[in-house]
Amino acid sequence: MAGWIIALVVVGVIVLLGIIFFSMYNGLVGLRNQVKNAWAQIDVQLKRRYDLIPNLVETVKGYAKHEREVFENVTKARNLAQAGASSDTATRGQLEGNLGSALSRLLVVAEAYPDLKANKNFLALQEELTSTENRISFSRQFYNDTVLRYNNKTQMFPSVLIAGMTGFKAETFFEITVPEEKLAPKVSFN
């Protein structure tokens, strides 16, 4: 009789441990998938920005022909960022940061042309660009929040045990680094 009870208790404990193990494992898989999804969303928004730039440059060019350097910088930064789309997170953050600051310089230049600012096409593009910049930062924000939750799970007890056994590694946050952000944009008036 006592033997039966012990056997039942042992089986019960094993089953319980198994349930805890699998629910934690599934939780980790779910979070890792969320991280992947959030990253894909950033990608979508960065592509949106690449697609927008040629159009924007063309429109501004029509009114501000002399600002060749600014256009070249934007186009160069865009092509570099697009080419580096498969590099690691840190490099990507730097390339996108460069593109962002080149773009904001273009918009500062555009401020000097009243005709351009009244152009309907330009206004529509400006809204699209504002929205795209917002989308990039919101998707980055959501990605980083998700990574934080995932990393916490992979590093905290007790899920750290399961994460260690089954190979869940911490993910990197996505930071867009803008080296010249603190400097005022250079505008030439010649």
């Binding site: 529509a124 809204e127 699209e128 929205s131 917002n134 989308r135 998707s139 924000q141 998700t146």
Partner: protein, 326 residues
């Protein structure tokens, strides 16, 4: 975020149960007075509630949108509004972008509909669209997306249907009672004394049930408004946008034409022109000045920052669940 939604569900569930008890009590009284069968009364209450719930669950958003006279907006109609809704979808991590609707109304207001995040819609009035700048509009849309993300729309639908059922049942029951002088039980007057007392208790319950139900409904609504404000700050990372929008909304006095008592909690601010300056039992929404003040005294934009700001402006009281007060 998950813990918070769970714990909110618990508190709301308790309030919904109270409403459920009210509804059943009403059915009981009706069964006692009109049918000589308690089961029959309970069944009537349950059937009315179930039918209304089914209609609201599957058609509620369509009904609400068509009563309000809302028309769907595509990207080409209003690129900025559409963009903002899409941005907030990204920021909140909703699986699908909600549909966007505009109501032709000079009043400044907005509401969210849809039984789940996959089938949701955000509606703003044309007055609101014209009066707010981009940041303010973003705050309002973020608040509505917060309602969708926190599953408030479903909760408010369930409770408003229950409120509606209670109002309808007690309305008819009291009319019938006055007309017939107390229903069938009058026929056997063997036990006139206890019967009369029961009658009075029943009548009081019938008259008070809609009032109690409304108070519960409003209590649920006020809690959800604070939470949606906190979510909006979290998504936009810019509490000032919503704060300034709320002030603009509060200073306009045009009432929303298509709003009524049952749909009032769906709106971002109370849709009737007369608004309470204090947080009373009878209000659907917390006072606007209070909401703006909390948003403005946030030191950051996280849910914990909102909780702290609420505490600072309300003598250390709490508003969000414990799991978010880190």
């Amino acid at each position: 975020m998950w813990d918070q939604i769970k714990s909110n569900r618990m508190r709301s569930a308790v309030l919904v149960m109270f409403m459920c008890l009210l509804l059943l009590g009403l059915g009981y009284v009706i069964g006692l007075f009109f049918l000589d069968s308690i089961i029959g009364g309970l069944a009537i209450a349950a059937v009315i509630w179930a039918v209304m719930s089914l209609v609201a669950f599957f058609q509620g958003d369509n009904i609400l949108l068509s009563i309000a006279g809302a028309r769907k907006v595509s990207k080409s109609d209003d690129p900025q509004l559409y963009n903002i809704v899409e941005e907030m979808t990204i920021a909140s991590g909703l699986p699908k972008m909600p549909d966007v609707y505009i109501v032709n109304d000079k009043a400044l207001n907005a509401f969210a509909t849809g039984r789940n995040p996959e089938k949701a819609a955000v509606t703003v009035t044309s007055g609101l669209r014209a009066a707010l700048n981009r940041d303010e509009l973003q705050g309002v849309v973020a608040h509505e997306i917060g309602h969708i993300k926190n599953r408030d729309v479903l909760l408010m639908t369930i409770t408003s249907v229950m409120l509606g059922a209670i109002v309808i049942i007690s309305w008819y029951a009291t009319r019938v009672m006055f007309l017939t002088g107390g229903g069938r039980s009058n026929n056997n007057r063997n036990s006139a004394g206890p019967q009369a007392i029961l009658m009075i208790i029943g009548l009081v319950l019938m008259i008070l049930a809609p009032l109690f139900a409304q108070l519960i409904y409003f209590a649920i609504s006020r809690k959800r408004e604070y939470l949606a404000d906190a979510s909006a700050a979290l998504y936009t990372r810019y509490p000032e946008g919503l704060a300034s929008a709320l002030e603009k909304l509060g200073s306009s006095v045009t009432p929303v034409k298509a709003a009524n008592k049952a749909t009032a909690p769906m709106y971002i601010i109370n849709p009737f022109a007369k608004r309470n300056a204090i947080n009373s039992w009878m209000s659907t929404h917390p006072p606007i000045a209070d909401r703006a003040r909390i948003l403005r005294s946030m030191s950051g934009s996280s849910l914990a920052d909102y909780e702290n700001a609420y505490g600072r402006t309300h003598d250390g009281k709490h508003i969000l669940p414990k799991s978010e007060r880190v």
